[in-house]
């Protein structure tokens, strides 16, 4: 009987160890769960978040309206700096300098809204692996707005 129980216990430990080994998070920096392609709540754009050094950056990779009324690629026409109004929106880095703080939170970064040319302080909270709360705020977090971003499937390379 004791031999049987010992066998079961050893089997369980081995099985649990094997299971743990399969979890992708166990071998990655937990902050890297932010990496991926995300869609803001208005569905007008898609943002690809990457890591550069130990910070996270998001750039626009898709726009529902990629061209302006004249058929030219849309640029950052609302930028307060006139010299930057010709920068194309596609490829544009709108999230900058986010640092993982632990407990599913990234902060110290900024969010840029090309609709009005405003830059906000930002925090990112991962509600679940496929959902982000992107909070832009002014000075104190209480005065701000949260947008919910959803994770998109990674694209497969075209042949």
């Amino acid at each position: 009987m004791i031999r049987k129980l010992t066998f079961l216990a050893v089997s369980a430990v081995i099985a649990f160890g094997a299971l743990s080994f399969d979890l992708p998070q166990s071998t990655e920096d937990p902050g890297d769960r932010l990496i991926g392609i995300w869609e803001p709540s208005n569905g007008r754009s898609r943002i690809k978040i990457d890591r550069i050094g130990n910070k996270y950056y998001g750039r626009v990779v898709w726009l529902i309206e990629p061209n302006d009324a004249d058929g030219n690629p849309r640029t950052d026409i609302n930028n307060p700096n006139p010299d930057l109004r010709n920068v194309p929106l596609r490829g544009f880095r709108m999230c900058k300098d986010f640092v993982y703080q632990g407990e599913d939170q990234w902060s110290e970064g900024t969010l840029y809204d090309p609709n009005n040319g405003s830059t906000y302080q930002g925090t990112i909270t991962m509600r679940d692996i496929n959902t982000l709360d992107m909070r832009g705020y002014i000075g104190v977090e209480a005065i701000g707005r949260t947008d919910v971003w959803k994770r998109l499937k990674m694209p497969s390379k075209k042949k």
Binding site: V61, N78, A142, R145
Partner: protein
């Protein structure tokens, strides 16, 4: 502000953007919802501190029919040099999710009447109470935006306001006035949203139930737009740039003000009277960013009196007249006339990101 430097070493020419075109959600149960805003809309005000000033005009009181059946004779027109007061409003988001936006707010309006000649005890009590106490409104409000799917949404706005001639302490809660509006709407494109609904409102002074139409639209080049919640307000917008906007239009403003504070020798409180004030403000508004999210709003226009009559509300229950369509409703206790002045309103605002 070096927001735009592309420093990841990937030249944009090397990126196949088409890879990102047809992507589904990782979690296939996720739905897309209609956003509460449209492109180009003027920014929502989180905190607003302003000052309102109306130029000279005249008030001619009618005869006041008292509760005991006697009458106070109306008297001559008296000149008001100015009417002015602060306007403070606060709106803070409580829930801001893709599938629900909930906001709570508070407001305080104060209106002081500066008569050319200070009314005396021999003048009509309307003049006396306006000169001595002015009008105040303190209120709380809530707004709930609930998208149903990618196009449809429901909007609810509710408020409780205490309006009257009270001083530093509030009136009993039985004098609160409740307003509400519920709309169903659609957002067919990123630049247009519309809705239809019903409102319970005191905007023309007395209680009314009226249909409301929401219509917000931005032109293809983002230079022009319409912001309307008809009939409460309608504005045409000219966007010089996202930090400078000019509006032309009108707003209905009004409330029912309890005549709460007594006058020397006149027990006004026991008369159960309310001033039904409703006015139309035809105006031009210039809103611009002073710095980042601090905006200034300067408006100038013409205040057109719609109603400044006095109702008797015994024990609180309101009178619903449906613009005179309902027979047998009580007459006003006092019918007053106001001439119309120009006005200006200046406010500094903290706007929403």
């Amino acid at each position: 502000m070096p927001v735009f430097a592309q420093t990841d070493g990937t030249a944009d020419d090397d990126i196949d953007w088409s890879l990102y075109e047809d992507l589904g959600f990782e979690d296939e149960s996720i739905k897309r919802y209609a956003n509460a805003k449209i492109e180009g809309l003027s920014p929502a005000k989180l905190i607003s501190l302003g000052y309102d000033f109306q130029g000279p005009y005249g008030i001619t009181p009618g005869d006041l029919n008292r509760a005991d059946g006697s009458t106070v004779v109306g008297g001559d027109e008296m000149q008001v040099n100015s009417t002015s007061g602060i306007r403070a409003e606060f709106n803070l988001p409580v829930v801001s999710q893709t599938n629900l936006v909930w906001q709570m707010g508070a407001n305080y309006w104060n209106t002081s009447y500066n008569y050319a000649e200070t009314p005396s005890a021999s003048d009509n009590p309307l003049h006396q109470t306006l000169s001595e106490h002015g009008l105040r409104t303190s209120g709380i409000n809530t707004t709930v935006y609930k998208p149903l799917d990618e196009e449809q949404f429901i909007l609810f706005q509710g408020s409780a306001d205490m309006s009257g001639t009270y001083g530093s302490s509030l009136m009993p809660t039985q004098y609160l006035k409740y307003s509400a509006a519920a709309l169903w709407g659609k957002r067919p494109t990123e630049k247009k949203q519309w809705g239809v609904g019903l409102a319970r409102t005191y905007r023309v002074g007395e209680l009314n139930y009226i249909p409301v139409i929401l219509y917000n639209k931005t032109s293809a080049n983002n230079k022009w737009g319409t912001e309307a919640l008809f009939p409460a307000r309608v504005h045409v917008r000219r966007t010089i740039n996202p930090r400078n906007m000019v509006f032309l239009g009108y707003e209905l403003q009004g409330q029912s003000f309890r005549m709460y504070e007594n006058l020397p020798g006149f027990d006004l409180r026991d008369e159960d009277l309310e001033i039904r004030r409703g006015e139309i403000r035809v105006r031009a508004v210039y809103e611009f960013s002073l710095k980042n999210f601090i905006w200034m709003s300067v408006q100038a226009g013409y205040r057109i009196n719609y109603r400044y009559d006095v109702d008797r509300l015994v024990s609180g229950p309101d009178i619903y007249r449906a613009f005179g369509l309902i027979d047998g409703t009580p007459d006003y206790a006092q019918l007053n006339g106001l001439t119309n002045p120009f006005y200006v309103n200046v406010s500094v605002n903290l706007v929403s990101p």
